[in-house]
Symmetry: D2
Subunit: 314 residues, 4 copies
């Protein structure tokens, strides 16, 4: 079966589903985007356990509520992210708001105003301070329950205490989706765990145990799919965890990084074949572009297709 | 007025117009994409003359029909492209079809099969040969009319001979939109002009005259807007032509190139301010990403907004 | 003082030091590269504690010996990397060799041959298996000494057992340079820690304690400099650790990522100012490019300058 | 023969030649850079006619003198560039100086000061005005000689009037190296040609004839090599011209663009094989990175190798 380039044209009121269908015959990255959507539909229909990974800057952005929705609708069975994403999810659940700015703001001036910049998003120092005030009693509460916590268990406990439909931690806890965060100390969270441990030396965050948890989150016999947004250790951890269970059947990588420097962020689903990371026969797609644009397109079209077949969680 | 990041969520049957509205509060490039759409709506409402520029690889893709539609609906008053785009528009108008492949095809094998690759699009040698057979009588016909042709005049003549609603040259000719192509010899077209000139030394392609044509295509008093897709001389030529008429009021640049190497392809609308290329007070946006994904989003949303106000050409 | 572009020309036998001097007047990234070298010279002369961070793919490459040399010569006081880099440093110290390939190898074929690909570098499955056999007794040895290990303490113990001048762990241990690895379970290492913990539940890897170790590796009063190669958590961890001690005075970021997606990998030294991550008055430089090319240039020129003033460790 | 990754280390006084030799065993782009240098040495030793192409922003930078040196030493038999590069070469030959700035300058402020920005290089409006005053008598002088000029013939005439060892046009004229510029009207040059033609309608710039000139600059039997820096029509024109003469035996592409969008700028030497653009058996290399850093490395090492065998023009 041969596919041909086909002239795309606008029709009034066109839906996202129709646009992504049109992408399949435009060429370059639009074709890969449509393919990524197909792979996601296929992994869901096939009953694969889905690993969804993203980096913290995406939680800073308005994708946070979309990730929560993905979890709620059953499109993520395991979530992996970095600790900044955890922190900002909690901050937002507690009412902090982040402002939209520009990439060219005067950073010295922003610093004087107590504002931090993440690309074109602005976060007040105050929001971090509020978060830190909040964190101390939470940690104390955890310690009161037990002394030794695997990271995913701790995040589940915290998620149960939130009450925000758009929260990743809340939806994950409610839907029994574990969140893994292999470098939990790499943020304000880590600092407060450290401060608490100073006074309570028997308090242990057990990252080694959590490695067992991610291994047992799926079995060798489960079909497995990876949706990796951005790179970093979130992506690598999903690949590693699936590999140790025989490899993933499906993989979608969406990133702005290119493969030419040999980085994990830029590694393509093709390279993953050499690692046995995705099985040779896997259905795979790599989409180059900013995920704040591309991921909603890919996933909305998958939602629509799966919804039509009643395959989304009610 | 302060804008805040807002959690984006899917609603069943969501339209492209709604999605792009949602982008305005996600962050990073999605915000720039929405802004680009706003700038286009604004330049149209303001009655600006619109320069639309694109590179030939975009005409190889299925964006070709979309560009033709942009011209038909009045969203381009001047078009600038490279000669490969002209050639492939004609080839497609004559029924040639391009196949979709992958970025990883074995290129030596493709060459042996007489297939050329442009990213993940495949073009048969045969398609080029058919084009060349077609071109000779066309050039002879032009020469029979007069000996000295400005490029845009020649392209208009050719456009009038095509009969394909999805053709850029056809729609441009029909709607009195000039197409400029400052390096017309940089392709098979150039080779055939050369062969013809060998036998007809008085045959002249007058690029200097065409510079006058682009200058007079708008006046100093016209408001002007630039929509530059990709980089290269198409983008530069639009900036130059508007600059010599006092500068553009509006500019949207969409590209995969970054500003860090000082190239025209990566030059942002911000840099353009220093050139007086866009006036200081201009409404401008730069979107980083593959235009096969981003341009349909930006322009469809503009179409919908303008259609609602009856501002598209019937 | 105004700097002008100056025509660069080759002189026979030109040294790297002379070339980098010439870069200062070429423009675009070459100017940033020279500036990065200046910042490194300045941070060293100023007695700053230097945080050197890199990602694991750089240890896969031949930069490994260069990093070891940087440590030996006193250009790194704190090292931060990801666990893949730790693993491959040990593998190489034990004699494993990695083959050079191409970016376009057939990955399914490689997988069948038991070969893994990292960009254009090939690693045999056998090398990993040898590493794993090696790791078990090492972990048992650690456990015999004590039950609870901070990561950096564990890596120091392992470094002392190696005997390879080109090894990062060896040079770090020998020169009392701590190596931090905030996500130590994200690799084969993590798997074997997990297996060992299954049989020895009182074995604890204490990542929280290590956060204290990195905080106390420098003081609030120390001047601090960051040299971040690539992005990921290694870069973020250095920024976080210096920030909690009042911020860094100097920062050099070298990466292939761009700032347009709001990722940590692409965050520039400019953005860092808004975070108070680098102090406002800091000397900073961001160089876009593959570090296998740019870092040797930047650092060799710094070595030469500092050596001339007897400021390298003997 | 299998190549292995080898730990790179600094030796005091290391030359560029030694560094590039070291690159051959580091990995990722450093390996490609060394390969590019090998390909250039090989094409020269093999007596290939060398097409050197670059974009105008590189002439804005200090690479201008290096390009002139490449021509003088016999490393370019045909030069292709865009008209901005021609203009700035002449401006510099007449004493104009460009200032080094930063990528983050306030562009509105620069515009008010009459300064234009190209990345981190600043050009005064005054420099352009001086150039334009200079250009008018030059064009008049050309017209006095004859009415119809091919672009390369015109550029040769101008080059003979300059007297600057670091000038591209001067060295090209002196060494009988033609310079092709397929879009000569895309700049201030075009505007002045147009003004002159208004008063002298029989003045013709014959781009079609120049296509013949580039075809006859090499023969089908010549071995041919392409060194393409950046993308755009300069790169495409070299590929086209060699293709019509049977294809190039050697090709080196150096660019910051990636292949994922199907653009000419990002097209790799691999893709070129499918076009028959480079012959299947060609020696080819693609280096991703800023050419202000990478091209001096690649070419200096080639100079040193060729000089050792007395293969540079005296």
């Amino acid at each position: 079966m041969v596919d041909y380039v086909k002239d795309f044209t606008w029709k009034k009121g066109i839906t996202v589903r129709e646009l992504v269908a049109g992408y399949s015959q435009i060429g370059y990255q639009s074709v890969e985007l449509k393919k990524a959507s197909d792979v996601i539909v296929k992994m869901k229909k096939d009953g694969a356990k889905i690993f969804l990974t993203f980096t913290s800057n995406m939680v800073t952005s308005g994708l946070r509520g979309f990730f929560a929705q993905c979890i709620r609708l059953g499109m993520a069975d395991i979530v992996i992210t970095t600790v900044g994403g955890i922190e900002e999810d909690i901050m937002k659940a507690k009412g902090e708001r982040f402002q939209l700015g520009t990439f060219e703001r005067d950073d010295v001036e922003l610093h004087e105003q107590g504002i931090n910049r993440v690309g074109n998003i602005l976060v007040k120092n105050e929001s971090y301070m509020n978060f830190e005030n909040l964190l101390r009693p939470v940690i104390a509460g955890l310690y009161a329950k037990k002394k030794r916590w695997a990271v995913s268990e701790m995040l589940r406990e915290i998620g149960l205490q939130l009450n925000d439909e758009d929260s990743i931690l809340y939806q994950a806890a409610k839907n029994n989706v574990p969140i893994f965060c292999p470098a939990v100390t790499d943020g304000a969270f880590g600092f407060h765990l450290y401060l608490f441990q100073q006074d309570h030396p028997d308090f242990v965050i057990d990252v080694v145990k959590d490695f067992g948890n991610i291994l047992y989150a799926t079995s060798h016999d489960d079909k497995k799919g990876v949706i990796a947004l951005g790179g970093s250790i979130s992506k690598h951890h999903a690949i590693l965890a699936t590999l140790l269970n025989g490899g993933a059947e499906y993989a979608v990588y969406m990133t702005t990084a290119h493969k030419t420097s040999g980085s994990m962020s830029g590694a393509t689903t093709n390279e993953a074949k050499s690692w046995g990371k995705v099985k040779d026969e896997s259905d795979v797609a790599t989409v180059i572009g900013d995920v704040t644009i591309t991921f909603p397109l890919v996933m909305i079209r998958a939602f629509e297709e799966l919804d039509a077949e009643n395959l989304l969680r009610k």
